[in-house]
Assembly symmetry: C2
Homo-oligomer: 150 residues x 2
DNA sequence: ATAAAATTTAAAGTTAACTTTAAGTCAAGC
DNA sequence: GCTTGACTTAAAGTTAACTTTAAATTTTAT
């Protein structure tokens, strides 16, 4: 029924010290304590911890996660505020996806660049190539790397 | 023809101190200096800086980026090593994309959760719902949040 | 009953990637 | 020639998110 910090840490694959740190920072207002002061995690606390994990993966700071967890504790009056917060975070993730795709595009271009150089035995082979020789799907990444203005 | 650190910083939208830090850490072996010691960036240096920017976006550390930049300075003998490095970093980005998509899935579920709660005026509405009431594309994220084992 | 293992807190330590500061040199415009 | 703003370096400071340490207490196992 109840779990200790060590057991929950194992389940979530994080260090117990990290959970204690989250608690100290006020991220875990839902965690109960035994008479002797030991944290008692319930199965239902796992969801809160997974939400924290999720928000952390979006790059949200501990302080901002605390704001969200506090809203959760305030009950139904804060539903719209929480919705707005989730939506805002959703947008930052969409932006991150865009950025990560651009990064991958650049790496894909570089992969082709070195693959081509490897076949020729020298990077100098690229001096002989024109933009038309670059696979179409890599051309945009190439242009972004090469542009000299802005 | 040549640009100062401040000009290049503006072009790349980073602080001059960041570029000086990269230089100090050995990331910019290609940058020349004037007789009086002032950094002289060429147009062609922009590409190297953009590669650094790209690798940074993959989460690579300054130290590991230096390894790559050093390989670049060593010329054609290191083409295959550089290719392997790019490929490895490409794989980490693919993994990051997967992670980010899972994070977005969770946020999408939470969005629906609060949207539904907002319409009902209370989060308690979810106690009345069964898994079949959850939109199909959000069900996996829901299950990951709810699962109690592992 | 006792030893070992896990828990508690507060406080200090860690790390990466910069930024800031300070003191000095250089370059451009008037 | 002089001021102003940008450049230089070395060294110290910053920040977030933990981790580690230490000393004390509690729980578990024998």
């Amino acid at each position: 029924m109840f779990y200790t910090v060590g057991e929950i840490a194992k389940k979530l694959n994080v260090a117990p010290s990290a959970l204690r740190y989250y608690d100290k920072e006020g991220l875990l207002p839902f965690v109960e304590r035994s008479d002797s002061g030991i944290r008692l995690f319930k199965d239902s606390d796992m969801e809160g911890l997974r939400v924290i994990e999720c928000l952390k993966k979006t790059g949200m700071s501990i302080k901002d996660i605390k704001v969200f967890m506090d809203l959760c504790q305030l009950g139904d009056a804060t539903i719209n505020e929480r919705l707005a917060l989730i939506d805002k975070q959703r947008e930052t993730v969409l932006e991150q996806q865009k950025q990560l795709q651009e990064t991958l595009d650049t790496l894909n271009y570089k992969h082709w660049y070195y693959e081509t150089a490897a076949k020729a035995g020298t990077c100098a082979v690229h001096d002989l190539l024109t933009e038309a020789d670059i696979p179409e799907d890599l051309r945009t990444a190439y242009q972004k790397l090469k542009k000299t203005d802005e």
